[in-house]
Amino acid sequence: MVVVGIDVGGTFTDLTEIDEATGGVRITKVPSTPGDEARAVLAGLERLADPRAVRRIVHGTTVATNAIIQRRGARVALVTTAGFRDLIEIGRTKRNIPALFNPTFVRPRPPVPRPLRFEVPERILHDGSVLRPLDEGALARLVDAVRPQAPQAFAVCLLFSYANAAHEQRVARALEQAFPGTPVSLSSEVVPEYREFERFSTTVFNAYIQPLMERYLEAMEKRLLAAGYPPGVLTVGSSGGALTVDAARRLPIKTIASGPAGGVSQAIFVARSIGAPDVITYDIGGTSTDVCLISGFAPGVTTESLLAGFPVKTPQIDIKSVGAGGGSIAWVDIDGALQVGPQSAGAEPGPACYGRGGLEATVSDANLLLGRLGAGRPLGGTIALDPALAARAVDRLAARLGGFDAHRLAEGIIRIMVARTVSSIREITIQRGHDPRDFTLMAFGGAGGMHAIPTAEELGIARIIVPRFPGNFSALGVAASDIKLDLVRTCIGRLAGDALPRLQELFAGMREAAARQLQEDGFAPADMRWVHALDLRYVGQAFELTVPVEPETLTAGGAAGAFHARHLQTYGHASEEAAVEVVNARLTAFGVVTKPPLARYASPTRRLAEALVEERAVYFGGRFAPCPVYERERLPAGARFPGPAVVEEFGSTAVVFPGWRAEVDEFGTLRLEGAA
């Protein structure tokens, strides 16, 4: 049997198939079909698996994210506590977009316009007690008021619902009765945490994308079933694990960082296999570079993220994205400064060399002009690259700079692009108190391997690995994902002995709920795994740090000690004498799936020469030099070769710069090491 991983991107849909027994991998890539994603998925699957041999299909998708960014979500009605319908708009009064010195900035509007925000008279207090009961008459009036607006989804967001969800549940029941089939998102279910604006914003987004996600998943499942594939296509969640169809349908907001999360999961899988606990991922795609710090095989996880100017408070892998990728446009500012990005030529028209009408020079055009990217290999098997168009675009830019040498300019475009990614890597590492030199750089995505060496050089990183199938990396990670549920309960109070029974009770309740869910999803108790944590802070602080705990051995002193240590690591100091406060209890529940091992590399060749595709002139440091070009999947295991060299494969290219050496290890991983 095989498992299939799919990464549905804006331009390409990547597919991978992994043999459960051998770990053998097959990959393919097909052009995406936005609006009818299932078509591309099926087209890709046809090239791979026999439907009857497929045990499960897991996919990463950005349909939800794109719908939010492009404002294509549902007509949502918001139901909230009387007096607070504008809270979703006022928020914390932050702009949340770069607008300093810009008098004409337009603050992003919430996805629910004012006439679709409804108030109900009710009020719960912070201890969960009811100040103002919700009466039936109010619910009837609400239904009457809502009806003419014909909403496609509801977000029910009441104050203090994390402490007492009864009113939200009653509103939901009334809406479900009156509007059968219209999805209802409750803030007490989407993020049962305190801080109303962040909870409401996340819930409204959830409602906003719910109808679309339902249609999408339904269509996908129907088409796959009809083609003979097994039911239940799973979706990767933002925090790395997979969501069942039902979970993704109810909580689509948990899928917004689906695609990049797959890449990080796979990076961790590879890191474990080769024994490299501390890794910085370097994923370069068309429009952006995503970097993530993995320390001790664990990525950072954050609940503080923004999407389209609004907070999303569901846990997600802490990935920093910089607007610098293969499609980033090089341009000249009014003061004559050369800039690269953040504007991107995207997939349409794409870089000039795609020949689809793009005229501006991009990073990919620069790489093509320098011979680092090969023209002989159509991108994703479909898009032929035209060096003449790339040269013309770079020439035009050179003329704008007053007659610059085109090749030097191309090299400069790449240097600037690299400089942007270097800054972001440096910043994420020091943010978590590390030094980049202690890390291995893991490069993937179509262009990660092309820019990894100059990036590592700038950072003082001595080791780079380019894992196998870097062009389909996210799809691989997706296939190997466990089912994951993130649960949270708010319980604010001093961290002291008398708080423990309540915390134990919350953990037990969450475990019970998670176990029930996982059981429904077909997991036996032996395949369930729990990770418990507390969000703690010093009394008086406004933000928390998440500290893992073991409920069986939980003591107030132990948890406080772990918190002090975490505070010390994060902020450089801790106050052992200061009082510590609990804010949230968290449970991450895993339904563990059988994962194929990372396959050993069955090298098809014995000699390096057998992998040689051609020798072409490649430009490094101001001049062209002859450079061997190897086919990645034909390299013999154990091969070692010096730079300059280019390693090409389906969907990705790696460049070994002069002064660096490459080695192919037993897993087929390309390891790059500097001369120094």
Partner: protein, 670 residues
């Protein structure tokens, strides 16, 4: 300079500043730094020029004045600056902001010469003084605001002068946190210096100096290019601070923007003398406000470095509220900065065809509720500083309640679910204020109303807020936004907590009182009668404009929510014809001794407007900001006439011979 190296170096320099931010956030002790991010980092040149700041995270309010702090250091120490020396500074009179913002200046050397200075200005939660937190509206001297630190060497030759540090911290509350913040600042600067050293090793001093010079020159050239596109001339405007205790005793900021070729001078001559209240600043803050406005309207996209300042000069007469001498308090520096910005924007408008925005909230809107929490017996202070509606512009409505383009992007409201845990308060309402946006072809953004019930026990209420009487102006015919307003509802009736609105000092609250914090609407842009009737219909449907206002101000007649085109056209004609207009006459004699603008109205004009002596009116300027004046005399010739000083007549003459006039407020704001 090779454009590639230049760009790579620019990226590296701004990345060093971003790293400084991360390092300080990671290591500081007070939550106002590591959670509130009330600090800024910058790299300065030896010539006291800003070389690099982060794009958007650092506060112009902190950064721009650093040049003054640096010059104060250079002036005092000359060449007596050696490796391992570290300077500390917060003195407003030599380039500080308010005393809470403490600057650390860390010299670093290359090839034996001073090269770049990593600098941090961070808000210390307390620097001593008469109240916890060091900021109070009740001050009369700076000594009540905490410890003043002139430029000093806090470390020499790599050794911290412990005596100095001990004296400082002995005069501040929670010295342990101050010490922690101090050490975090030293560590952050040292790291930044290391990173600059690595750049030096990589590129060499000559290349780095070349790049820095080029970056500054380019920013300068951009600004000069923009200035050359503007008509030469002197453009004047004035704005007011609402000082006084029992009644309004306005302070005026007078701005003359002088454009000559590719230079711009802002002359603040004529501004009010310094005052024994919090609204004074040292020499750095007015130039910071002026720069913020000029940069924003001329070249928002360019780098933020001192090159862009080179074509600008700002003249701040000594002894005035924009360049105060000791011992004038300086805690209200945000209010003064906003006022300078309002004045400069009104003046600049005349040079850029009115392409400015409606005015903003005028200051910090600081509101404090303090008492003893009956649940714990512990004292508490609840503090919020509500953002307000933004001004409209030619092409767009102002944003509703959000931090403005002149400010850093900070949270100004606490989560309700935190407030009710931490304080004996219940938040009853957080809503946009209907009809609060200034009217116009483009409407100003709405302010908010935050309403809290005090539970359990008595408490005190204090406010430091501007534009409670003189609301944020509209431009080019747009009307003012609603003023900021802070008041109490007790037993169902409104209670004013102070004789002068917006200046509340310890008003005694009773349990059960409802406290309302209401922020201003942004000023409108353009004539409301030119607003697209469909946009007005949408505003009515959204509940942001009332149907009555739609009819009365916008002349839009709605039938079942739909625009009645013909009725609207007629209504607009009627409104346009009925607007009070006056012909201007020159007013002789001296102006008011306190600098406020005065006017005389004919009896007919006063009757038409329904105004009396002492009321405030505004004369609409179709090409910019309206001129505001106090009615000092009613009478004289018949007809709709107004008398204003010659400079005002000249300014308004551009609008034709009859000028629209509006009532702004009574002397107490009503």
């Amino acid at each position: 300079m090779d454009p590639i190296t230049l760009e790579v170096v620019r990226e590296a320099l701004s990345s060093i500043v971003r790293e400084m931010r991360i390092n300080l956030t990671r290591t500081s002790y007070s939550s106002i730094i590591y959670e509130g991010e009330d600090f800024s980092c910058v790299l300065m040149s030896a010539a006291a020029e800003i070389v690099a700041m982060s794009a958007g995270q650092d506060h112009p309010l902190h950064i721009v004045p650093i040049g003054w702090s640096m010059r104060a250091v250079r002036e005092k120490f000359g060449d007596d600056i050696r490796p391992g020396d570290i300077f500390l500074h917060n003195d407003p009179y030599t380039g500080g902001t308010h005393l809470n913002d403490v600057a650390m200046i860390y010299p670093m050397f290359a090839e034996g010469r001073l090269f770049l200075f990593p600098v941090i200005r961070a808000h210390w939660a307390d620097v001593g003084g008469m109240t916890s937190g060091s900021i109070s509206g009740a001050v009369t001297e700076i000594y009540q605001e905490g410890v003043r630190i002139p430029p000093i060497k806090v470390a020499e030759g790599g050794r911290v002068n412990q005596a100095v540090v001990d004296v400082l911290f002995a005069n501040m509350r929670i010295p342990r946190d101050r010490d922690g913040d101090f050490r975090a600042m030293v560590g952050t600067c040292a790291k930044a210096a290391e990173r600059v050293q690595a750049l030096l090793a990589r590129y060499g001093l000559a290349v780095l100096e070349g790049c820095i010079g080029e970056l500054l020159d380019r920013a300068e050239q951009r600004m000069r290019q923009k200035l050359r596109g503007l008509p030469d001339g002197t453009y004047r405007y004035e704005a007011y601070l609402e000082a006084g205790r029992e009644r309004l005793e306005p302070l005026v900021v007078k701005a003359a923007v002088i454009i000559a070729g590719d230079t711009l001078t802002v002359d603040l001559g004529g501004t009010s003398p310094q005052t024994a209240g919090p609204t004074n600043v040292g020499p750095a803050m007015a130039p910071t406000g002026a720069f913020t406005i000029i940069k924003s309207f001329l070249d928002p996209g360019g780098d933020i470095n001192s090159g862009a300042f080179r074509p600008l000069s700002v003249l701040t007469p000594e002894g005035t509220i924009v360049n105060a001498r000791p011992p004038a308090p300086c805690g209200g520096m945000v209010e003064v900065k906003f006022c300078v910005e309002s004045a400069v924007m009104g003046a600049l408008a005349q040079a850029i065809e009115g392409k400015v925005t409606g005015d903003l909230k005028g200051g910090g809107n600081h509101a404090y509720l303090g008492g003893v929490d009956p649940r714990t017996g512990e004292p508490y202070v609840f503090y919020e500083y509500p953002a307000a509606g933004n001004g409209a512009w030619d092409g767009g409505d102002g944003n509703n309640t959000v931090r403005a383009f002149t400010e850093s992007d900070m949270t100004t409201l606490q989560p309700i679910e935190a407030v009710e845990q931490k304080y004996p308060l219940r938040v009853e309402r957080t809503a946009l204020r209907e009809d609060s946006g200034g009217d116009g072809r483009w409407r100003g953004g709405l302010g908010l109303s935050r309403e809290l019930t005090l539970l359990g026990a008595d408490a005190r209420f204090s406010v430091l807020s501007e534009k409670n009487i003189l609301p944020p102006y509209g431009v080019c015919g747009g009307t003012a936004g609603a003023p900021n307003r802070f008041f109490v509802i007790r037993d169902g009736a409104a209670v004013e907590p102070s004789p002068l609105p917006g200046k509340v000092s310890g008003f005694p609250l009773r349990a059960g009182d409802l406290v309302l914090l209401q922020s201003s609407g942004g000023g409108g842009y353009g004539d409301p009668l030119a607003r697209d009737p469909e946009a007005v219909a949408r505003d009515v449907a959204d509940g942001v404009v009332s149907p009555d206002r739609a009819r009365r101000v916008y002349g839009v007649i709605l039938r079942d929510g739909r625009v009645d085109g013909e009725a609207t056209r007629r209504q607009r004609e009627v409104i346009g014809a009925a607007r009070p207009r006056v012909r201007l006459r020159e007013l002789g004699g001296p102006g008011a001794p306190d600098g406020r603008r005065i006017c005389r109205l004919s009896a007919a004009a006063a009757a038409r407007l329904g105004v009396a002596m002492g009321d405030i009116v505004e004369f609409v300027n179709p090409a910019g900001a309206p001129l505001r004046a106090w009615i000092a005399e009613i009478g004289g010739e018949d007809g709709d006439l107004a008398w204003l000083a010659p400079d005002a007549c000249a300014l308004l003459a551009a609008g034709g011979d009859a000028v629209e006039i509006r009532r702004v407020a009574g002397p107490r704001g009503a």
